[in-house]
């Protein structure tokens, strides 16, 4: 009965290619519902970009909140920002930028079919990501010790300029913890995915004919990096010129 559909509304093209080894239409990584590897790649890349769009909107809500309160209480934000260590923040920024480089190198290693180098760069990227998280943990611990974590135990003992209340400083820290916390969650997810990729790379799944998962993960990793590049000045460098 399938033949009936060919009549007028649609007619059939001869889609019965013979199986040719090495043919990109029959690559071992080609999923059944795609016609070609290229279509599959296009689809997953577009999917990843769309996912990043949702991520931008997600962080966009936070940045909006940040902008609203910063313009409401610039002084309080400046005071609170001074309690963050810009040195640790700058160090972490550098770590992430280097990790973006190693991520790009891992993709390059796949493109030139160098398996061990691929695994090495992926591991290096993971190590850098973990370094970032480690530094972040140190910073968080410092905040806990100083009771700078918003909530019932929040305390603020530094002198505040006239008109600035500790409530306003607390709002800064609320936003700080939500933003950096969600960023860290994204880092953790990224590191987990990198681990899976490193495993498959070691198994030899990715080569110059097929490395799209690396590329998509790379997009994600760079995105997370860029979010941090926005967070760093917005949170750490407020009014640094004053002191």
């Amino acid at each position: 009965m399938a033949s009936t559909l060919t009549d007028s509304h649609a007619h059939v093209s001869a889609h019965v290619p013979a199986h040719v080894p090495g043919d990109p239409q029959h690559h071992r990584s080609l999923q059944h519902h795609f016609e070609t590897l290229e279509q599959q790649k296009d689809a997953s890349t577009l999917g990843m970009w769309l996912f990043l769009v949702t991520e931008i909107m997600f962080f966009g809500g936070l940045f909006t909140t940040y902008v609203v309160y910063r313009s409401k209480w610039p002084l309080a934000f400046m005071e609170a920002s001074h309690s963050l260590s810009w040195k640790l923040g700058a160090f972490n920024t550098a770590v992430l930028i280097v990790s973006s480089l190693t991520m790009a190198l891992a993709i390059w290693a796949a493109q030139v079919n160098r398996r061990k180098m691929q695994v090495g760069f992926l591991m290096l990227t993971m190590v850098l990501g973990l370094t970032f998280l480690g530094v972040k943990a140190v910073e968080y611990q410092d905040k806990f010790e100083h009771h700078h974590v918003p909530g019932p135990h929040f305390e603020w003992h530094e002198p505040l300029p006239e008109g600035v209340t500790s409530n306003q400083v607390e709002v800064f820290f609320s936003i700080y913890f939500i933003m950096t916390g969600l960023h860290a969650v994204h880092m953790i997810c990224g590191i987990a995915v990198l681990g899976v990729l490193a495993f498959y790379a070691w198994k030899g799944r990715y080569d110059s004919t097929y490395y799209n998962p690396l590329e998509c993960t790379g997009l994600y990793w760079h995105f997370v990096d860029i979010v941090w590049i926005f967070l760093f000045p917005l949170l750490y460098l407020l009014g640094a010129h004053v002191h």
């Binding site: 002084l75 300029p161 006239e162 008109g163 600035v164 209340t165 409530n167």
Partner: protein, 352 residues
């Protein structure tokens, strides 16, 4: 009352006929369009019903002018209605200059009202007919909303800021007051009445009302107890005391233009005064040091209204400063001459 089937709400304010006209016009347009579509559908269904199993519709002839026409016509109608609606809206939210000021504070789950002369009521507000009434609205906890269907007005009470609404009742009666913004547990019991009375009756009612300090008088007391007057005091008095002035004077401030240190200038409206009390460092007046402490958390919403009422009263008499006050004023100028008060009459409790 029980078996009545009302189809149209009572109309008892100057705004109501305007809103009704707009509503009825829109209803007529809506009904006309709905009937047009319904009649066309029924007609086409009958006229073009399928006659045989393999019959198909006529080939499409969709002239572009038709698409343009039925995009443009609704556009024109809706923009016209928008303009009309915006005009009514501005009318609803722009209180006339001579409006008498009342206060409403919402809290879970009651409305507290205060008359210009200090009368307080819970869940019921008596107002005179034919007098524009401006209601300053605040909330102590969550968001509430003042809604008087017969007056066609509604305004949210938002914690942390003051909003206002105004109306002028046109006929005496008792009208529903609802809280329209869901506020938890007893939201549906946060109702009450607006009692509109002929002005003479209102005066009689007031005369029998409880003694209470007016908003302005309470504000003046606060002005003293919070020690505001130690900085904000008339210049001549400061000089007399041999002191350097430490803060801008407040007489004539309300409604005037204020120049700030950063070069901007703002109008000293309620929002500005409110912010200056709660967050003094936010807008520093040109020529003064930022030495004022914040009063965030130290004054309640109600007290804030009283302070604002007092500061407003200092500008009520044109040009002339308020009674010079070696001690803070005890007989502040009432913001509205039409609202007499009589502290001699014994108290009467008003409630639900």
């Amino acid at each position: 009352m029980e078996q009545e089937l009302p189809l149209f709400p009572e109309s008892a304010s100057t705004l109501a006929p305007q809103v009704d006209a707009l509503f009825l016009a829109w209803s007529a347009i809506s009904i006309a369009f709905t009937i047009l579509i319904a009649v066309l559908i029924v007609y086409f269904m009958v006229r073009y019903r399928r006659q045989s199993v393999d019959e198909v519709g006529q080939a499409e002839r969709a002239p572009a002018w038709l698409e343009v026409a039925w995009s443009i016509i609704p556009l024109i109608i809706s923009l016209a209605m928008f303009a009309w609606g915006a005009q009514v809206f501005f009318e609803i939210y722009r209180a006339p200059k001579n409006a008498v000021e009342y206060w409403a504070v919402g809290k879970q789950w009651m409305w507290k009202f205060q008359h210009p002369d200090g009368h307080r009521e819970i869940n019921t507000l008596h107002i005179p007919v034919g007098v524009p009434v401006r209601l300053h609205i605040q909330s102590e906890d969550v968001i509430h909303s003042v809604f008087v269907p017969a007056f066609r007005i509604k305004q949210d009470a938002v914690p942390g800021r003051e909003t206002s609404a105004w109306f002028q009742a046109t006929k005496p009666g008792v009208y529903h007051l609802f809280c329209a913004e869901y506020c938890g547990g007893e939201h549906s019991k946060m109702t009450g009445s607006i009692v509109a009375m002929e002005p003479e009756d209102y005066q009689v009612w007031l005369a029998g009302g409880p003694v209470g300090k007016s908003m302005t008088a309470s504000g003046a007391d606060l002005f003293e107890s919070l020690a505001c007057y130690t900085c904000h005091r008339p210049a001549e008095e400061t000089v007399a005391a041999g002191l350097a002035a430490r803060a801008p004077r407040l007489e004539g401030l309300y409604g005037s233009e204020v120049r700030l240190v950063d070069g901007r200038s703002v109008t000293a409206d309620e929002e500005y005064l409110r912010e200056s009390i709660l967050n003094p460092a936010e807008k520093i007046v040109s020529g003064w040091q930022p030495i004022m402490p914040t009063y965030q958390g130290q004054v309640t919403e109600e007290q804030l209204s009283q302070l604002l009422a007092y500061i407003r009263s200092l500008s009520a008499t044109t040009g002339a400063p308020a009674a010079p006050a070696p001690t803070p004023p005890i007989s502040p100028i009432s913001p509205t001459p039409s609202a007499p008060r009589d502290p001699a009459v014994p108290a009467r409790t008003e409630g639900q």
